[in-house]
């Protein structure tokens, strides 16, 4: 009984503490810092989504920045129309457009904008995933194809000045109003912060139950030995497509939450480098540990904002070293290392480990890092 309680606490206490800290953040952070934390929490949401597909599914998507930006652009289109009132958005006017393009028109409805912002990235991921996984492309091929897509779409968005705002992106969203309140007002900013915390919690729980369910075990099995699972009769294409689409939708949700808090979205959030940086957040925190994705995203981004303002060159070197060090020296990441350490301690003290399937699954997640597993190429 006490063992059960212990393992329950071990599983949920870190998450509850983290959520508690985040909910209480307005008490100890200034408005500026709170807004910054809110932005970083949207990054944490993308990281959880990437951890789902990479940490548990072994598919290293280098396109999460693209899905994030597609979501962000979708919601930014609504906000821009809202901010512009009766006129067409300013960048269209500057590019010589007289009328609103037809595909912009439906985005004046917030419901449509949010639905499209989530569904379009999920659909893109689903269709791309279907064709990639159907031809059994895996491993690094999947990574470089998603990266190529990200690069091309970001170049394309820059080229379509009249429809996407080009290099500047969609700017000046601060004038928009939500339910009669200005986006810049403290109330709206605080509510978006809390909204982000709640959605981060929900996304975490969703992914947690997904990976601890039977579905999650099939996913991890596919990561570790794809052929064996195929011989056992599982349809891996649909499983992988589903997970890829879900992770894209999660990134898109993060984008929707990002835009109103930052007030701008541009192709600089979309390209190759932003997409691969998401990977490093997860790697630093510990892949295959959803909590690690959150912690990694927060740590790396706080590190960036601390260093890059004063020493941008050093930050670039540090970032490079982080990529190398996190895979070479600490493949388990922060949370993974702590879990390994805790496991070793509990074994040493002779407290018998609980033999529930969940505990076994957690051990599996900690013990076997995805990329060390065989069956990948």
């Amino acid at each position: 009984m006490s063992n059960q309680l212990f393992s329950l606490a071990r599983r949920w206490l870190p998450f509850i503490i983290l959520m508690g800290l985040l909910v209480a953040a307005p008490l100890y952070l200034s408005d500026f810092r709170l807004n910054q934390l809110g932005k970083f929490l949207t990054f944490a949401i993308i990281a959880v989504g990437l951890d789902l597909i990479w940490g548990y599914g072994g598919m290293l998507s280098l396109g999460q920045g693209l899905f994030f930006s597609l979501g962000a652009y979708g919601f930014a289109m609504y906000l821009k129309l809202q901010a512009s009132g009766d006129k067409i958005p300013d960048f269209m006017f500057w590019s010589g457009l007289k009328e609103l393009p037809w595909f912009w028109a439906p985005f004046s409805s917030p419901i449509f904008a949010i639905a499209a912002a989530i569904l379009i990235p999920a659909l893109v991921a689903g269709v791309l995933g279907f064709f990639i996984f159907r031809s059994r492309v895996q491993g690094v091929y999947f990574s470089i194809i998603t990266q190529a897509l990200t690069l091309l779409v970001s170049i394309w968005f820059i080229g379509q000045q009249a429809y996407t705002g080009g290099t500047n992106g969609i700017t000046d969203l601060g004038k928009a109003q939500i339910f009669g309140y200005s986006l810049m007002s403290a109330e709206v900013k605080t509510s978006f912060y809390f909204g982000t915390v709640v959605i981060l919690g929900l996304v975490y729980l969703f992914c947690y139950f997904m990976v601890t369910s039977r579905f999650g075990r099939v996913l991890m099995a596919a990561r570790d030995n794809e052929n064996r699972l195929r011989f056992l009769g599982y349809n891996l294409v649909s499983i992988k497509v589903l997970v890829f689409a879900v992770s894209a939708a999660i990134a898109a949700i993060a984008g929707i939450l990002y835009v109103p808090q930052v007030g701008i979205i541009s192709p600089s959030n979309m390209g190759v480098i932003p997409s691969i940086e998401i990977v490093i957040w997860v790697a630093v925190g510990g892949r295959g540990t959803l909590l690690g994705a959150i912690i990694g995203a927060l740590l790396v981004n706080y590190g960036r904002s601390y260093f890059s303002e004063s020493y941008p060159a050093i930050w670039q070197y540090f970032m490079g070293a982080l990529f190398i060090g996190s895979v070479l020296l600490f493949p388990a990441g922060i949370v993974g290392s702590i879990q390994n350490f805790a496991n070793r301690l509990s074994r040493k003290w002779g407290s018998e480990r609980t033999a529930t399937p969940e505990a076994a699954a957690t051990d599996l997640m900690v013990g076997i890092q995805p990329s060390q597993a065989k069956g990948q190429s």
Binding site: W54, G58, L60, L128, F131, I132, R134, S135, R136, V137, G139, V140, Y141, S143, I144, I145, Q147, A148, L149, L151, L152, V153, I155, W156, G159, V272, I276, V279, I280, A283, A313, Q316, Y317, M319, G320, A321, L322, F323, I324, G325, S326, V327, L328, P331, P370, S371, Q372, K374, Q376, S377
Partner: protein, 299 residues
């Protein structure tokens, strides 16, 4: 008709540069199953090598116009980029053996560091390399269409490199060892091939070729710290399309990507053309998932 010939020429020119870049990627991928994200930065290293030779070496060997410095820069870039690549294999990639996705991330870290190093040494703005006098102008094919000598030189350079690589791979003892390790690493090791040495040497040859590509690119455009990133994604596509079976697969894939990119860009816009090429490659993988040529192996 003239426009078509010019486009075909441009396509072959682009394809030959892509080929030079992708050969190293394909060799490393076939041998070790890793994709080197820093491969583009070795192009950049080679290009800056040309710049350094132009500013430092040229005055001693007859000046910029004569172009001896340029001919010297090609082997120098090959050696320097090759040594740097071998160093990277020995210190980093070797330790990530069997973890291809981790290798991808670690090499991306190397790419960031190399880019920043170039920025620290040469500054962030682009620099220009002026080509030797005998490479200015072009070859008139009779109807007023001018094929620039620079691009003809690049194509000729690539032809020489590919022939040399063919003899290395298929006619030398080292090449035989390389192919043996590529087909079955354990068996080759058991028979006495030092597979680790083969890895380091092959990786170095690959990055060295990227360095040569960099010198060639210095002829046709400005050089900046992020030069490599413009070509690397196309080079990845060449590897995906060509498969890792043979030299021929990479050659065909590079020319195919080069020519179809230029033609599709002509009929649409530059980015739409590239998107179409990517979609065509994904469609092609439905038919032949292993690429144009697949390695026959029982391992």
């Amino acid at each position: 008709m003239d426009a078509m010939i010019l486009q075909l020429f441009n396509g072959i020119s682009l394809g030959s540069i892509l080929l030079l870049v992708s050969l190293g990627l394909a060799l490393a991928f076939g041998l070790m199953g890793v994709i080197n994200m820093a491969h583009g930065e070795f192009i950049m290293v080679g290009a800056y090598m040309a710049y350094v030779f132009q500013t430092i070496v040229a005055p001693y060997v007859g000046g910029v116009e004569l172009g001896i410095w340029f001919l010297l820069a090609i082997p120098a870039a090959f050696l320097f980029a090759g040594l740097l690549g071998s160093l990277m294999e020995v210190t980093l990639i070797r330790h990530l053996y069997g973890r291809p996705l981790d290798t991808l991330l670690a090499t991306f870290g190397v790419a960031l560091i190399l880019q920043q190093a170039a920025r620290s040494i040469f500054g962030a703005p682009n620099v220009n390399v002026s080509s030797p006098a005998w490479l200015t102008g072009g070859f008139d094919i009779g109807t007023g269409v001018l094929l620039p000598y620079k691009r003809i030189f690049i194509i000729a350079l690539v032809v020489v490199v590919v022939i040399a690589l063919y003899f290395y791979l298929y006619r030398s003892a080292n090449g035989r060892r390389l192919r043996a390790v590529m087909q079955n690493r354990e068996m080759a090791s058991a028979l006495g091939v030092r597979s680790r040495t083969v890895d380091a040497v092959t990786f170095g040859i690959g990055t060295g070729l990227a360095g040569v590509a960099g010198v060639a690119l210095a002829l046709v455009g400005p050089i900046g710290p992020s030069l490599g990133t413009f070509y690397i994604v196309d080079a990845f596509m060449v590897v995906v399309l060509g498969g890792v079976g043979s030299l021929m697969g990479t050659v065909m894939a590079a020319l195919l990507v080069g020519v179809s990119t230029t033609f599709l860009e002509l009929s649409t816009t530059a980015t739409v053309g590239k998107v179409l090429v990517l979609l065509l490659i994904i469609a092609f993988l439905q038919w032949k998932p292993a690429g144009l040529t697949a390695l026959q192996s029982r391992s």
